[in-house]
């Protein structure tokens, strides 16, 4: 026993220190960013009294908005994942999964305009019901409903993808047992499927809530009134309009505090149930008629709802002059820059994600490190460092990087690619970790004893244990991180110049000077790129054993 404990320590030393270092390094960088901003003399100083009065209402209304967005994203995600789990084979299933993933990674302006084409005042839906004199069914996308719709549109597919993967990993025996006990689909969901979903739901809710909580362009564009403003709007105002940097930092810190609170809540809710790992989704038996119909209805309905705005993006973009676009050197440079930055950012995000997730599992595994209070604190910090970037506004991050670069370098523009990569990595990490952390914890729970007794370590352990389990997830998050970086406007605003731009920046530039058609063309190119990435990359990561799933 004593010898075995020693081996475990040896193994864990290497497997968890780098992750903690990465996490603290990133937290340190964020701290530096805030410090750098506070170091600049701003224009005015806000009084504490009005500060809190102003943000009270904002916090309240944003919490309601983000809460609704989270609840609906989760509901849609569960329904969709459950239906797709039980309808494993139909033509276009794979394409549908890839298409669903793109709604989250496209620039928000593209998504919003696509939704408006479908659900706007003059959109397809309202024209359709007006033609059929079904005025009762007409919808208005402007208001709280529109904001929530857009957020659900962007986030529910991410939730669904994560949940679907958990459902596919439920061992066939569980379903066999459920069937031999004669459980109804609802009973089966409660006893077999729901427990498999609970470990990742808190993390997913956290991500969706923070995304909605910090939404900016969408809440203004679809809100209809400034009533639904988020803190992000106030931060923009403080930095851009008033140059009141201390106020901006204070507001950003409020946002961080909310994030920290949520991380703690998510940790408290995270149940420690043991997870199973299977290599192949269990085949299913025929379902009762109503469940069968419900599953097809859900898939059909959401396929139409999710694909229609993307179709609008395609139709808008199809008339663009691509020969002219492709021949312009500005476009080619922006495209090359975007692709390289996205590839670099995605690889670093995955590497960091693996390191942090392996530290996290070390600290939470009773076999490896016991349950000391120190470990719980460290583990909380890791969770916080993995989600904090969702709460740090891109504007604050960009400003901070700019100031840091300026204080240490003669030509801050030269570090623009680095700043963009750093921002992209930070933005992708929360999504990467939401998927990797539970998956890594699972392999530890299942294989640690065996691995330690066989003295399986380092590369061989990774190859034999983690890789087969994680490869599918890795393919998906690599595609996700790549496309997130591709579609992000992020921190480029302060660094942009004639020599340095990205595709989304170019898109906004076209939009900003009446060139709507060219902008729509770039949007279509981004959509096509993201779609091919989501279609191809996960395939590269699949083994032969489960190529058919």
């Amino acid at each position: 026993m004593a010898r075995q404990r020693q081996q475990i320590n040896l193994t864990s030393y290497w497997s968890w220190r780098p992750g903690v270092l990465v996490a603290f390094g990133l937290l340190g960088l964020v701290t530096l960013v805030f410090a750098a901003i506070l170091g600049v003399r701003g224009d005015s100083v806000t009084q504490a009294g009005t500060f809190w009065r102003d943000i009270g209402d904002v916090l309240m209304i944003t919490t309601i908005q983000a809460g609704l967005s989270t609840v609906f994203s989760l509901a849609v995600g569960i329904l969709l994942a459950w239906s797709l789990r039980h309808r494993q084979r139909f033509p276009g299933r794979r394409l549908l999964l890839s298409l669903l993933s793109t709604s989250m990674v496209l620039p928000t302006l593209v998504v919003a305009l696509g939704l408006i084409d479908v659900f706007g005042r003059r959109g397809w839906w309202n024209s359709f019901v007006a033609d059929g004199s079904l005025d009762l069914l007409s919808v208005s996308i402007y208001g709280l409903g529109g904001i929530v719709l857009a957020h659900v549109y962007m986030d529910a597919p991410f939730v669904a993808r994560g949940l679907l993967h958990r459902l596919e990993n439920i061992p066939a025996e569980h379903f066999k047992l459920a069937r031999s006990l004669g459980l109804s689909p609802w009973q089966r969901f409660r006893t077999v499927e729901w427990p498999a979903l609970t470990p990742i739901i808190p993390g997913q809710c956290l991500v969706v809530f923070l995304l909605s909580f910090t939404s900016f362009a969408i809440v203004l564009m679809l809100g209809g009134s400034p009533r639904f403003n988020t803190l992000e709007v106030a931060i923009f105002e403080a930095i851009k309009l008033e140059f009141d940097l201390p106020r901006a930092v204070a507001l950003a810190l409020v946002q961080l505090a909310v994030c920290a609170g949520l991380v703690m809540m998510a940790m408290a809710f995270r149940p420690g149930t043991a997870q199973q790992v299977v290599r192949r989704a269990a085949p299913m038996w025929p379902e009762p008629r109503f469940a069968f119909v419900l599953q097809w209805l859900v898939i059909g309905l959401f396929a139409v709802l999710f694909l229609a705005p993307l179709l609008a993006v395609v139709l808008n973009g199809i008339g663009a002059d691509y020969a002219k676009l492709f021949s312009s050197s500005g476009f080619r440079t922006a495209a090359a820059t975007s692709l390289v930055l996205a590839a670099v950012s995605a690889l670093i995000a995955i590497a960091f994600g693996l390191l942090i997730a392996s530290s996290q599992r070390h600290l939470t595994s009773t076999l490896r490190s016991g349950t000391s209070p120190l470990n719980r604190v460290l583990s909380g910090l890791l969770s916080f460092s993995g989600t904090v970037y969702l709460a740090v506004p891109a504007l604050v991050l960009g400003l901070g990087f700019f100031l840091l670069a300026r204080s240490s370098l003669d030509n801050p523009t030269a570090v623009a690619p680095l700043a963009l990569v750093a921002a992209n990595v930070m933005m992708a990490l929360p999504f990467v970790l939401v998927i990797l952390t539970p998956a890594m914890a699972k392999t530890a729970q299942k294989y640690d004893r065996l691995a330690f007794s066989l003295n399986l370590r380092g590369w061989s352990r990774w190859r034999l244990i983690e890789w087969p389990v994680l490869r599918q997830d890795l393919g998906y998050i690599l595609a996700l991180a790549f496309c997130l970086s591709l579609g992000d406007l992020g921190v480029i605003a302060l660094f942009g110049s004639q020599d340095f731009s990205t595709l989304p920046w170019l898109l906004y530039q076209h939009m900003g000077s009446y060139r709507t058609t060219d902008a729509a063309g770039i949007a279509l190119i981004l959509l096509a790129l993201c779609l091919s990435i989501f279609f191809i990359v996960p395939r590269l990561f699949e083994g032969r054993s489960n190529a058919e799933t």
Binding site: L220, S225, A343, T413, L494, G496, Q498
Partner: protein, 339 residues
């Protein structure tokens, strides 16, 4: 695991190397004049390329445009860089920013003669020199809207399903323009006007692009933009259906200005550029690239511009007045349209 990470790290370094070297290469033999401007001005299709081509032979220098995301972004970038800024000239601030910009003390007198200016308003600012101007206005599609309002009062009397889409004054220049326009026309009654206008506001967007995009999709009857917007559709797209709604109240103006950065080491070259700015070589580029009126000279405008609505009365508040009241007025606006 370690090996895996090593591979990833080295791949990363390899991939990022060419990116880093791109921005390092800068021609050094000629003097370089650096102009910070907003993105649409510096774009391939904006005024920058033609201006660069015209000015470089005259000055024997290299003219370099650096784009920021917005008009205010130009000022904030120079402010952040302080004395070590690379900018010699800030081009693209508007009159609502001049007081704020002046107070930073970062800008020097332009020294150019202003006799060539042909603005509808008097101009005597020693630091900020206009290069173009425009009038804010609502733009509509004449195939869908047959009787557009001709004043704010008429707009307020339109049915509630006559929707307009406007911009947020906290994040957008036109948004602030509309706020000031209503303020100029109605004075202290502005909050009531906003309350009456509110049911007709479809939505309030972060920037001009979103609002105009919504309008082009037919979501709103009118979008807040410029009287010169129809010129783009007429000239670049041969599309004559878009019109600006002329308001008898007069139209609020936007005057775009440039200034020399005090910390610039190219003061002579910068002054040469400021003088060049008011010459035909610069001014003639403006109408069909920036879609605004040139600030100097009374030469003929490109075909199509004669069809635009020219306001009989130009409204403009001084930068000082805007700077003093903006916060209170924005708060008042928020209270009126949020309830």
């Amino acid at each position: 695991m370690k090996q895996f990470i090593k591979t990833i790290l080295s791949a990363t370094l390899l991939l990022s190397a060419p990116l880093l070297s791109v921005s390092a290469a800068v021609a050094a033999d000629k003097p370089t004049l650096v102009v910070y401007t907003y993105d649409a001005f510096a774009a391939d299709w904006g005024p920058a390329p033609a201006i660069k081509k015209a000015f470089e032979p005259v000055c024997g220098c290299e003219l370099k445009f650096v784009a920021t995301d917005s008009s205010i972004g130009i000022l904030r970038k120079i402010q952040l860089e302080g004395a070590s800024t690379k900018a010699d000239i800030a081009l693209g601030l508007d009159t609502n920013l001049t007081a704020i910009a002046r107070n930073t003390g970062l800008f020097a007198a332009h020294g150019a003669s202003t006799t060539a200016l042909s603005l509808p308003v008097k101009w005597g600012d020693p630091v900020f020199l206009p290069f173009d101007y425009g009038y804010f206005s609502f733009v509509y599609n004449s195939e869908k809207v047959t009787s557009a309002p001709t004043s704010f009062d008429e707009l307020l009397a339109m049915p509630e399903d006559f929707k307009i889409v406007i911009q947020d004054p906290r994040s957008s220049t036109p948004g602030l323009g509309l706020l000031l326009w209503v303020r100029e026309v109605y004075g202290d009654k502005a909050p009531e006007v906003w309350k009456k206008l509110k049911p007709r506001i479809l939505t309030i967007t972060k920037g001009w692009s979103e609002a105009y995009g919504l309008f082009l999709k037919g979501e709103a009857e009118m979008a807040f933009s410029y009287t010169t917007s129809p010129a783009y559709h007429m000239i670049a797209e041969k599309d004559h259906k878009y019109r600006a709604a002329g308001f008898s109240d007069g139209h609020y103006m936007q005057v775009e200005v440039a200034a020399i950065v005090k910390a610039s080491k190219q003061q002579d070259l910068a002054r040469q550029f400021m003088a060049f700015m008011l010459t035909p070589a610069f001014q003639d580029v403006i109408p069909t690239t920036n879609w605004m009126y040139p600030a100097a000279g009374n030469r003929s405008l490109p075909a199509g511009f004669e069809k635009l609505h020219v306001p009989s009365k130009a409204l403009l508040l001084s930068g000082e007045e805007v700077a003093k009241n903006r916060k209170a007025w924005v708060q008042e606006w928020l209270d009126s349209v949020s309830k």
